[in-house]
């Protein structure tokens, strides 16, 4: 019995030591915890280490890794932030969380010279994804965009529009399918948003009102319906994501794919035969007369409102997001920098051989997803209205348009079950 008590006491003492260990020892470096999605190439470890070193003993950054799945990352973060967890100092924030986190008061606003420093040379629409209500809430780190990838051996010239691409794919004897992301998850929202933006309207207008003009929205819906119900749909379209798309393309099943930039390096490594025939072009148009607005992804770095080390956390986040860090991210993980001036840098042109300028152009032209605090509701509502994709009848998109609009209207007001 006594042994048991001793054991318990020791355990408690140890826990106490750990709890006190993260503390505010004035002489040593401050411990900062950086919650961020894991990057397989090791970017996060490397930049955390470098910035800790450069701080000259001011702070030490310890990364805490979140899962690769975007919804799971958010779920872990919101549970901690909702409970005002002080163990988070810096948050790796997906571009779509800004409105939500800022409105809930979970992340701190960036001001003064640091604000100027972290937004210098950054693409304006990337800054937009880190802002809410005209205020900046995060330092842009990496951005991302989707390109159209195609097989040069099967397709002479990349199609300019989705209609052309679907027609061309259906006419191919082999590999006549188009890989996209259409499982019921955030990736489908990315596709839907890019199509709606490219058609010339938007899901939500700036002042939290439903956009979705009828004619262009229906045009975007027709594209999905046509793809899903025609011969160009891969067999598991309704459960496809970035990875199944990549795998399908690398297996030689598809002549076309819309996907993020990682797809290129992946194909070179996993399927060199396909990789050497891999062509790239801008995300196709929906309306032949309007330039496309490709998807925009990426991570911005925010300082938690519940951190006990906010002063140094801002400095650390600024370092983690600076140009050197962004170069590390493109070098190790192929993540596009959010600073436009880096696109002529050797590191970037090496990571994107021949298409660095295309990536830059694609980001500049991109149509970001809405930044509303109720984003999660809007995304769920869109996914519910339009999934599975083959429920959209390309000949008659009016009823599905009404459903979509009604769902989004309710979602903005956060009404109803989703």
């Amino acid at each position: 019995m006594r042994a048991l008590v001793c054991l318990a006491a020791t355990a408690l003492a140890a826990a106490g030591l750990v709890a006190c260990g993260g503390g505010s020892d004035e002489s040593g470096p401050r411990d900062l915890t950086f919650f961020v999605a894991i990057q397989p190439g090791g970017t996060i470890e490397k930049v955390s280490e470098r910035c800790s070193e450069e701080s000259n003993g001011k702070y030490t950054i310890t990364p805490e890794f979140l899962p690769t799945d975007a919804s799971q990352q958010r779920e872990q973060l919101v549970r901690r932030l909702g409970a005002e967890d002080s163990s988070i100092d810096i948050v790796g924030m997906d571009v779509i969380w800004t409105g939500e986190f800022a409105n809930a008061g979970w992340v701190e606003e960036w001001k003064g010279p640091l604000k100027k420093q972290v937004t210098e040379n950054v693409f304006p629409n990337v800054i937009e994804t880190a802002s809410f209500d005209g205020k900046l809430y995060a330092a842009p780190f990496n951005t991302n965009t989707q390109l159209l990838w195609y097989r040069k051996d099967l397709v002479k010239k990349p199609p300019a529009t989705w209609d052309q691409m679907i027609e061309e794919a259906e006419g191919l004897k082999e590999a006549g399918s188009i890989q996209v992301q259409a499982n019921r998850y955030e990736g489908y929202m990315v596709l839907v948003n890019a199509l709606i933006e490219s058609a010339g309207t938007e899901i939500i207008t700036g002042d939290e009102e439903v956009g979705l003009e009828q004619a262009p929205t229906e045009k975007a819906l027709q594209v999905i319906g046509k793809l899903a119900n025609g011969g160009a749909a891969p067999p598991s379209l309704s459960t496809s994501d970035e990875d199944t798309a990549r795998l399908g393309f690398e297996a030689g099943e598809s002549a076309f794919m819309t996907n993020y930039t990682f797809a290129y390096a992946s194909a070179q490594a996993e399927a060199p035969d396909i990789g050497k025939e891999m062509g790239f072009a801008r995300f196709p148009r929906v309306d032949a007369n309007k330039p496309s607005k490709p998807p925009l992804g990426g991570f911005n770095l925010a300082v938690s409102a519940f951190s006990g080390n906010k002063d140094v956390a801002f400095e650390a986040a600024a370092c983690l997001a600076n140009d050197t860090s962004q170069k590390t991210a493109v070098e190790l993980d192929g993540l596009p920098p959010s600073r436009s001036d880096l696109y002529s840098d050797k590191v970037v042109t090496k990571a994107y051989p021949g298409f660095a300028q295309l990536v830059k152009e694609s980001i500049e032209a991109s149509g970001p997803r809405p930044t509303t605090p109720a984003y999660q509701d809007v995304s769920l509502a869109v996914q519910r209205a339009l999934h599975p994709p083959d429920k959209i009848d390309p000949e008659d998109t009016e009823s599905i348009y009404d459903e979509l609009k009604e769902n989004v209207e309710k979602a903005i007001k956060r009404e109803g079950l989703l």
Binding site: L247, A374, L380, H387, E415, L418
Partner: protein, 299 residues
């Protein structure tokens, strides 16, 4: 005479007091870990609480419940849940009974048989769900190769349900079998011998002796499994995330609470799930006469 009664009742009273005192720690613990969260969920369900909009909390009355109960989504999900519950529990009962009989009759290697049957139950549901998902993945799974099909199992509602049901049945049949085995061992072997002497066939012995005597055990097993099956979450979450109308009520609650952070609406869903579970338990205990304390001496 009168003095005797007073004496007994005062003794009874002191015994009752002692009983309460002995129960008190358990009752307190239950109140703390069960009653408090349930009561808190009820309180939340009567308010507009959204973690993303901390300044907009207000009293909502029953509006959250009205929103849930008037939503077609809730009823679709109730249908899915009840459908999954009825199908999986029925299959589990039949299979579980067969396995229990085998385990009961096993002459040698009894320990090994019982242990090996329990393995699926020992595997974490999420892990099992991933295993089934990978097995049925259209391009990389082995099932399509095995049966020579090219089915996209998770591309349709019916086929998704097939995989979910298989995974659930595989996982929880051992639990059912174990509960049934416990009932089986309480049956007096002499009854079978007597029946055999009277010329009863194996089927007659099963339907006339085994089943009636096992009714209490079967009801308890069914009650446990039904309550469990109504809260099905892991398998669906891993395999489809509720897409293609395969959502269960637990996933619906999860979406409101964890994804949307709408604590009011999510709590309303949770409370309604709790009420459903309570009604199922009531139906078993009152309607079918399931006795949870069956098997206790004098119970």
């Amino acid at each position: 005479m009168e003095a005797h009664t007073t004496k007994t009742s005062s003794r009874t009273r002191s015994e009752r007091k002692l009983a309460w005192m002995l129960c008190a720690p358990a009752v307190l613990a239950m109140l703390l870990v069960t009653a408090y969260p349930i009561a808190y969920a009820v309180v939340l369900s009567l308010q507009n609480v959204d973690l993303r909009f901390p300044d907009e909390n207000s009293f909502a009355g029953l509006s959250n419940y009205i929103t849930v109960l008037t939503s077609s989504l809730w009823w679709t999900d109730i249908f899915n849940t009840v459908f999954l519950m009825v199908v999986t529990v029925s299959i589990e009962l039949v299979l579980g009974m067969a396995i229990a009989l085998v385990m009961h009759r096993a002459i040698f290697g009894r320990g090994i048989v019982r242990t090996s049957v329990l393995i699926p139950y020992g595997i974490i549901t999420v892990v099992a769900a991933f295993a089934w998902q990978f097995a049925f993945a259209p391009e990389t799974g082995f099932v399509n190769d095995l049966i020579g099909a090219e089915t996209d199992w998770f591309g349709g509602r019916f086929t998704s349900f097939v995989v979910i049901i298989l995974a659930e049945v595989w996982k929880t049949t051992p639990f059912m079998a174990l509960l049934l085995l416990a009932g089986l061992v309480t049956i007096d072997g002499q009854l079978y011998e007597a029946a055999r002497v009277d010329g009863a066939s194996a089927w007659q012995r099963f339907t006339r002796i085994t089943l009636p005597l096992m009714k209490p055990a079967i009801l308890v097993a069914l009650l446990f499994r039904t309550l469990d099956a109504f809260r099905v979450f892991d398998s669906i979450f891993i395999m489809t995330r509720g897409a293609l109308d395969t959502e269960s009520v637990s996933i619906l609650g999860y979406n409101q609470l964890i994804s949307r952070l709408n604590l009011g609406l999510g709590s309303a869903v949770s409370v309604l799930i709790f009420i459903c579970v309570f009604l199922i338990a009531l139906l078993f205990v009152r309607g079918f006469g399931a006795k949870l304390d069956e098997g206790r001496p004098g119970g």
